[in-house]
């Protein structure tokens, strides 16, 4: 199944691509993208199914840390490359469309 690059998916990918080596957890991602956590979760799951993102539960003692374990996400090597290409491709038609609109607006 091909991944649809909706605006929300692009936001998540952009956040992860800022530092592909960095692991981010759900709340962090939701704060960085401005998306609700319930919106970000299905996106992360789909990205994981596509092999673009890998995730794991952090190994901590919740009592000692006084917070629950987090699930961390990061881009895979292949995922980072594919995400960059896909994001660039997603931006291109929008740029062209905006240029056309601007040209039309300029002549009207």
């Amino acid at each position: 199944m091909a991944l649809r690059l909706t605006v929300q998916v692009q936001l998540v990918l952009q956040a992860l691509l800022r530092d592909p080596a960095r692991e981010m957890y759900g709340l962090e991602l939701s704060e960085e993208t401005g998306l609700q956590p319930g919106t970000a979760y299905p996106i992360l799951l789909r990205l994981e199914h596509e092999g673009w993102v890998a995730s794991h539960w952090e190994d901590i003692d919740p009592r000692a840390e006084k917070r629950p374990a987090r699930r961390y996400y990061r881009l895979t090597a292949g995922g980072a490359a594919e995400a960059s290409v896909a994001l660039a491709a997603a931006r291109r038609p929008k740029g062209a469309a905006l240029r056309r609109l601007a040209e039309r607006g300029g002549t009207a």
Partner: protein
Amino acid sequence: MMLRTMMPRTRLEWVERLAGAGMWIAIGASVFLTSAPLEWTFALAGCVVALAVVSAAAGIPRRRAGRKLVLRKGSGHSGLSGRDATDRPATEAAHPWRTLAAVSRLMPASGGRRWLAEAESLLAEVEAARRAAAARSYLLSAPRLAVMMWARQLMRRVRPGPRRPG
């Protein structure tokens, strides 16, 4: 006037009302599509069950209003049990835990467990003012997520292929 009082007031009531309507549409569709391929019958049956459970789950907080709520213990996986008493959500915000647990049963077992654990983990850390909105966002995305998970599971059974870890 009568119509105005019958209108849902909260978002939860809207979800409940829409889920109820959706359930009847799904039942009607499944009656028409009984001769359709088996996968469609399964998918429609899943939708009917999902909508029924969501509409029932959406009504839980209202039915429980006024009663003393007993907070569920932490799942252990997410470590909610590690939180202290002051970290617990206020009584009115406690229902998402129960609702989330009920809704997670719509999903395939492993997917549901993971979704619930992650929701619990995040809701325990999110600031109190944003907790209700975050829980609502999880609940609202759950039916679509459940359909996505079951469809994936179904496709795996129909076309067994290499499995990805996780």
